[in-house]
Every structure is written in structure tokens, then in C-alpha cells.
Amino acid sequence: MRKCWGWRTAVAVLVGLSVAGVGWSAPAPRVLRVAEATDVVTLDPAFAADRPSHSVIGHIYERLMRYEYDTQSKAIRPVPELLRRMEVSPDGRTWTFWLHPGRVFSDGNPVDAVAVKYSLERILAPAIGSPYRPLLEPIQRIEVVGPDQLRVTTSEPYSSLGENLAAYQTAVVSPRAAGRLPLREFGRRPVGSGPYLLAEWLPGQQVVLGRNPQFSGRRPWADQIVFRPIPEAAARVVALEAGDVEVAMRIPAEAVRRLEGRPDVEILRVPTTFQISFEFNHRRKPFDDPRVRRALNLAVDRRAIVERVLLGAGTVPTGPAPEGVTYRLALGEFRYDPGEARRLLAEAGYPQGFSTVLWTPAVRYGKDREVAQAVQAYLADVGVRAEIRVWEWGAYVSAIARPEKEAGLYLLGVSIPTADWRFYRNFRSDAPTNYSGYRNPEVDQLLDEARATTQEARKRDLYARVQRILWTDPPYLFLYDQTLLVGIRKGVSGVRILPIETVELHAARAP
């Protein structure tokens, strides 16, 4: 069968070439194709929330900073991209940025201080309504000092501004294009200064990127990059096996053994900053009691879940921030101790356990429904009777954002790689994205201090204290740190998969 295809394709190609009269003068474009699980949602950085969108945004736009993955320390490190130099005043309130001069957007306009000011103010403007406003909220004023120099003043000391400028949401957009187009339209017709520009977008089918002729940085190998959404995991595997794509994201763990037996495919196991937990609803009894939260954390055998349900595509968490997150502190695994869990529950006044509701989305996080059922069984062992409700993702996102939700626990993943944004957004009492309702004045104060201090050692110490508190009084039922499985055709090199689950093909090439 395989042989048949070989000669048929050869004949077809020859016939095609002769019919079209194409000579050998025009070489075929060099193409790299990536299969993702979901479609790109928007290419407007100020609104992009999902990884496939971020992956494409990373090729079309440039940011002031970008994430670099240090394979030695296994940490993400924000490094300058558009920035040439950056200076912070001793009080942490005034930042001066110098840009690389002479960079141009794909529409020919310069990437200057005015464009950067426009892009940052675009996220801050209430009229635009970007959900990422909190990322830059402390910014009070942005002044253009020279064509390549600008000064940012914050209302309070905000030493994390630098690392937060590596977020995909802060990518620099062409003011001309973004200002001319209606808001929704810009997400479909993006203009940035990255090595690629959007050539074609067929929703649900593919996003095609072509070379940006204005790009003056290091020239990538591929003339064309194609991102294809293939929701069905098995179909993604087949596309990779058939050579329809060079890279397939989110390979299911069950398929790994079979794929590793093939000579033409390679599997990458990427530890990610994605930590999956059942978040406790602190606004509901009995989850306001620290003993109950601790008991439930002791009731689950995470090793069994990682090995048996995830089939190894994960690791047991050793702290509230997985490897790769800035200022991470490794603390050690929770032990599996149902006896102690029962004792703690009895001490908290629940010797007979209690009933609660577990919410989970369907097939958002690999094996979410299976994990939920395993947790349900572990909780039943210590007397906690949990009823599962399975949600469709779109409805789930708005349901968990409601403070009066009836869920006792709900499954959610956090992937933010920088400490400030990761902790502030989820654990600061008044943060609008603190869905669990966690409230701890000490954590609030430590987070504020860490945000303010410009001394690196002090900052590290403050975040270490935050992580210790979160580990001794767990706000969530922490479950596992996700390992991303990516399939790559043999011979394709230079594909970079970041621990935030985005793919970068700037240095990639196929044979």
C-alpha cells in the first residue's frame, strides 16, 4: 500500500509539473506546518487568551521583552526583544526604555516610541476593554522622550513591569493599522513587526503566515508557516504519521508508545508551567476551613493519577509554582495520607464527611473528566461525597467567574510563567480574577511588597514566603504539573516549545 502511494504521488507530481509547465526555476516554498488542538481565536494581542493565538502572535509581532527558556536552570527568563536598554529609578516608579532604532512594521511604519506608547495605552484604555488591563494597571503616564526612547511612570512602585512586558498581550502593534480598523477587525488583519505576516486565515481550517518583507532581523528558514486546528487527538496523530504536518501539539499519552516505535517521528516531553488543580470555593462552607482544605490535599494519591490516568504526562507538584515559573521555590510533594485526612476532617467537625459538587470542563485539559472521577473516588474514601458536573468550556469559563457559584471545587489550570502576575491574579483578595475567593491579608501584603521592591534578593525572599504559605494552607486541591507531549517529524530541527505551551519556529528548519 505504502509503495503504491509512492509511485502514484511521483507520477502525479510529474504530470502536474508537465501540465502546469512549471520549470525548475521557481523553487517550492519552504513550509512548516503545525497541528494545534484548537483554532486561533484572535490575532489582536490585547485580547488573545489562548495558546494557539499566542503562538501565531509570537511570529507576527514583537514585544519589548520575550520569554527565553533556560534549559539549565529550567526557568523562563524574560529577555529584551525590541528593547535595547531598560532603566528603573531606585524608587521603582520610573522606567526608561530605549528601543532598537530602525525597525519597521510590515505596513512600512516605524516601530518607535510612539508606537510602543500607543500599544501599551491601547491595553490600558477602558474604551478598548482589554481583559489584560490589570497587567499594566499601575502605569500612570507614558511619555515619548525621543524617537527611540520613552519613560513610563507608575502610581506605585511596580518592579514586575519588566517581566510582565514579555507577555504576548503586550506585543507592539502598528498604530496606523490598529487605529484605522474597527476593533474586531484588527484581530483578523493584524500588523506587527515580526518575521512573518498573516497571508491567509480560513477559520476552522488554517492560518497561513508568509514572510514579512520589511523584517530586518535574522531571517528564519521557512517561507511559510501553516497552523492547522485538528481538535480530535487521534486525527492529529494520524496527520503527523502521514507527514501532513511537521509538528503536532498535544499528543495524547496513549499514542506515545506507538509513535515512539516509528522511525520518522520524535516525541518531545516538555514540562510546562501549567498546573492543574481543583480550586476550592472559599466562599462556601466547609472550604473556608483550612483543616478541610489540608485534609483534601492529603486524600488524593497524585502519583497514581500521574502514572495511571495521565500515563506519565505530568509530574507531582512540589510547590504552588511548577518548574519554569520565575522565583519558584521547590517545597516537596504532598503525601498521600487518607488516615490523617480523616482525622483532620473529624477535627474540623466533619467526622462523617460531607457532600459537595465538583465541576469540570470536558476535554479541555487532556484527561479532565477521568481525573475528576479519580479525585471523586479518593474523596469518597475519606467520606467526602462529591457529585460531578461536566461543562462545555465556553459556559464553564463564565460559570466559574461568578462569585455565587454552587461548585465546592472546580478544575482549572494556571500557566502564567511570571511570579507576580501568576500569584497576584489568583491570590490577591481583591483581584477580579481571584475566582476561588481566597483571602489572606499576609499574602496580600507580601505580594504588594514584592511588586514594589527593586532589590532582587528581597523579591526572591518575599515570593518564597508567599509560596510557603500557599503550600501549608493550600488554597487549592493541587493535582499535577502538566507535561506537554509534542510530536515532530524526524529531521525537523530547531522547533522551540516553551513551557507556556507555545511554539516558536524562528530557528526551525525541515530537511
Binding site: 487527538a233 487521534a234 495524547p252 496513549e254 499514542a255 508508545r257 506507538r258 494519591d301 497514581a304 493519577i305 502514572e307 495511571r308 490516568v309 470536558a362 473528566r369 477521568e370 475528576a372 472521577q373 479519580a374 471523586q376 473516588a377 479518593y378 457529585e387 460531578i388 458536573r389 461536566v390 462545555e392
Partner: protein
């Protein structure tokens, strides 16, 4: 075959406790068939055999209750509509039934579950709601046809009450027609229930349900095909058995009263009104 399924569904609580079907044992996840667990264990180490049998109970309960309720409502509406042939009630019922029949059955069921929420009862409601229109349509046709038969005319002439005619003369004949259809309807309901479960709209986990078993088994297709093959065969076998049963019903009745196999086509003679209206 159908009786084997019914037997399993009815008797499973006696020899396999429900606990067997939902007890998670991660250490034994994905155990192959054979040995002590004759069908092996699923991705969470639950006994596949126990889940299959309890799934049969759940599926059969849903389809029998659902089609039963749908049939009851459908026959009542259909006969009422047939008796008041030409009246406003008939027009209203016919319009409703036609509108619902225009939609695929699965879509109607999806809508019901979507509106009511996910539960065992919602599933029964979905099956009932999606099956009653065809029952109503068939019952109406049969009623129209039977009304004009000699024995009904004779009963009217003898001064029998309307209720007596309805119950003693018309209903049995209508049911004759509907019995084979009911069995066929059960067969499609099995598929509807499995489809809903597959789409994640069945009873909430960990309840054993064939459709949701299929949906999770899908990703293990290459490495552990039995996880998929076993529930898939159960669904297919039950659906086929039920439609064979329907053939048998139809065959039995056609020997005596050949006219009534497809009453919808013989119903509603042009230009004549039903007797009860006269």
C-alpha cells in the same frame, strides 16, 4: 436477545453490586480482558463487565420509560386529533407534530437536555419528547382509518357510548399498528441515548453509560481496543435486536390483518369526514 438484555438489566443488582461499576482502582487501570475480570478494566481500573451490565440497566430504563411516556402522550394526542379530524385541535396537534418531525430526533433530544440540564430524568424526557411526534402521527392515521370500519359503524348504530367505542373498538386496533413501531422506536432511542452519552450529555459521571464509555474509550483505540469494542457491540446488538423484534411483531400481525401494517398511507380518505363528527 432482547430478553437476555432485559434479564441482565433486571437482575444485575442481584449478582453485581453497583459499587463494582464505579469503584476506581488506579493500580489496576487498563487491565486486559481475561483472568478474574472477564472483560478487563477501564482507564480508571473499574470493572468493564460491571459497567457494561449496569449500563444496560441504565439504557433500557431510559429507553423503555422514555418511549413508554412518549408513546402514551403520542397515542393520546394522535387519537384525539384523529377523532376531532378537521377541527382546530386537530390542526394545532398536527402542526406541532409536523414541526417536531421536521427536526432530526437527536437534535430534539439535544435541545431537551440542553434546556433541562444533565440528569437521568432529563434523558428520559429527551427520549420521550423526541419520540412522541411519530407516535402521534401514526395514531392519528390509524384512528382515522379504523373509524370507518364496519364494526365501528355497527357499534355506533347499536348506540354504544363514545368512550366505549374509543376504548373497546378503536384503541386495540390502533395499538396493533403501533406495537411494531414502538419496538423500532426503542431501537432508535438506544442510539439516541448512546449519542447523548457520547457527547457528554448523559447521566453525570461516574454513572456507567455506554455512550460515555465509548467517548472515553476512543482515545485508547489503538492500545486497548476492547474498551471501545465491548460497549460498541452492546449498543449495536441491542439496537439490531430491537428492530428485529419489530419485524417479528409486524409479521405476526400482518398475517391476520394485512391492511394495518402501514396505516398512515390508508388513513384520511379524501373528501370524507370521520364518523364521530357526523
Amino acid at each position: 436477545m432482547v430478553f437476555l438484555y432485559l434479564g441482565i438489566a433486571a437482575l444485575v443488582p442481584l449478582f453485581v453490586p453497583y459499587e463494582e461499576a464505579v469503584r476506581v482502582d488506579l493500580a489496576r487501570a487498563l487491565e486486559p480482558p481475561g483472568g478474574r475480570e472477564w472483560l478487563g478494566r477501564d482507564e480508571l481500573g473499574r470493572s468493564l463487565g460491571a459497567r457494561l451490565m449496569w449500563g444496560a440497566r441504565s439504557t433500557l430504563t431510559v429507553v423503555i420509560a422514555g418511549v413508554g411516556a412518549g408513546g402514551l402522550v403520542g397515542v393520546t394526542l394522535g387519537m384525539a386529533s384523529g377523532l376531532h379530524h378537521g377541527g382546530p385541535a386537530d390542526a394545532a396537534i398536527t402542526a406541532l407534530v409536523d414541526a417536531l418531525l421536521a427536526l432530526p430526533r437527536l437534535l430534539v433530544a439535544l435541545l431537551v437536555v440542553g434546556l433541562v440540564g444533565q440528569s437521568f430524568e432529563a434523558l428520559i424526557g429527551a427520549v420521550a419528547f423526541s419520540s412522541f411526534p411519530s407516535f402521534a402521527r401514526l395514531a392519528r392515521g390509524a384512528t382515522l382509518a379504523v373509524q370507518q370500519r364496519e364494526f365501528v359503524v355497527a357499534a355506533v348504530a347499536l348506540g354504544a357510548t363514545r368512550g366505549r367505542i374509543l376504548i373497546r373498538h378503536i384503541l386495540p386496533n390502533v395499538l396493533d399498528v403501533l406495537l411494531p413501531y414502538a419496538s423500532l422506536s426503542l431501537s432508535t432511542a438506544v442510539l439516541v441515548v448512546a449519542a447523548l452519552g457520547f457527547l457528554g450529555l448523559g447521566p453525570p459521571p461516574p454513572a456507567p453509560e455506554w455512550g460515555s464509555m465509548l467517548s472515553t474509550a476512543r482515545s485508547y483505540l489503538w492500545e486497548h481496543p476492547h474498551l471501545l469494542v465491548v460497549p460498541a457491540s452492546a449498543v449495536a446488538l441491542l439496537a439490531v435486536s430491537l428492530s428485529l423484534l419489530s419485524d417479528q411483531f409486524a409479521g405476526k400481525h400482518s398475517q391476520g390483518k394485512a391492511v394495518w401494517i402501514r396505516p398512515a398511507k390508508t388513513g384520511k380518505p379524501a373528501g370524507r369526514r370521520g364518523l364521530t363528527d357526523a
